[in-house]
Subunit: 150 residues, 2 copies
């Protein structure tokens, strides 16, 4: 049966996963953050089947995460670049990176690292509170949307 959809869910997490929660979309976005722009670059770097890449890029463009622009090198081809909405995915990609680094690599196993412009490794993502003290899971709760009464 068709993959179940959460596009109408009232939970933003579910909608976000419905939009970009597949194996390829965020990897394409990651590569876009790394500066990749052309169909062939994504295809070669990810080893993704061309047909998949075509449908993923189309979906990301429809979502407004990527947009197609004329190639920056003056050729007749097109390039895919991140929009504002795409740039806003940065914390998610960083979060995945930090979780992966912390839990999916053996001690000493080499992996790529995120640096600031001075070449320093960046810190951990934090969720600030009004008081300035970072919030963890235990400090928060979700307020659900009130069930619609009749």
């Amino acid at each position: 049966m068709k993959r179940t959809a959460f596009a109408k869910a009232e939970c933003p997490v579910a909608r976000a996963l419905d939009a970009i929660g597949d194996w390829w979309s965020l990897l394409i976005v990651r590569d876009a953050f790394d500066g990749l722009r052309r169909f062939g670059d994504f295809q070669k770097n990810l080893g993704i089947a061309k047909g998949m890449l075509t449908t993923r890029l189309r979906t990301l463009v429809e979502l407004g995460v990527l947009e197609q622009v004329a190639a920056s090198d003056g050729s007749a081809y097109q390039e895919y670049v991140l929009t504002r909405r795409g740039h806003d995915l940065f914390p998610i990609v960083v979060g995945l990176r930090q979780w992966g680094e912390a839990h999916l690599f053996a001690r000493g196993e080499p992996h790529s690292v995120l640096l600031d412009q001075a070449g320093q490794a960046v810190g951990q993502l934090v969720l600030p509170s009004k008081s300035g003290k970072p919030l963890g899971w235990a400090d928060t709760k979700v307020r659900k949307v009130a069930a619609r009464r009749r």
Copy 2:
């Protein structure tokens, strides 16, 4: 063909997506953050097929994101609770939530909201730098693992 695997990738983002980057796993984790613990609770709340839920829970337990413990109500059943590793997924779930809120809901459309213990909406995730100034996408770059020479 078999879904392509990134479990050996040197990029932590790719490994993380390989582990938890499917449509259901993070929704299960979200529900666990919301306090759900039992098979039937997850199944009812998500509307997921039981077979899918079984394999997802098994995978999450193997990954060390969830663990099975004896039911807290004294019955003979088991419950699934987040481990330390599971709790560390909090920033990712929050990131998805915030991106979804910002880009996937129409103005005024109701959605669930994340609150701190005082009932205040939480702020945006930030990536701090040494200098204390939050880092954005343009302020960072990825250092790749050096290609292995012979």
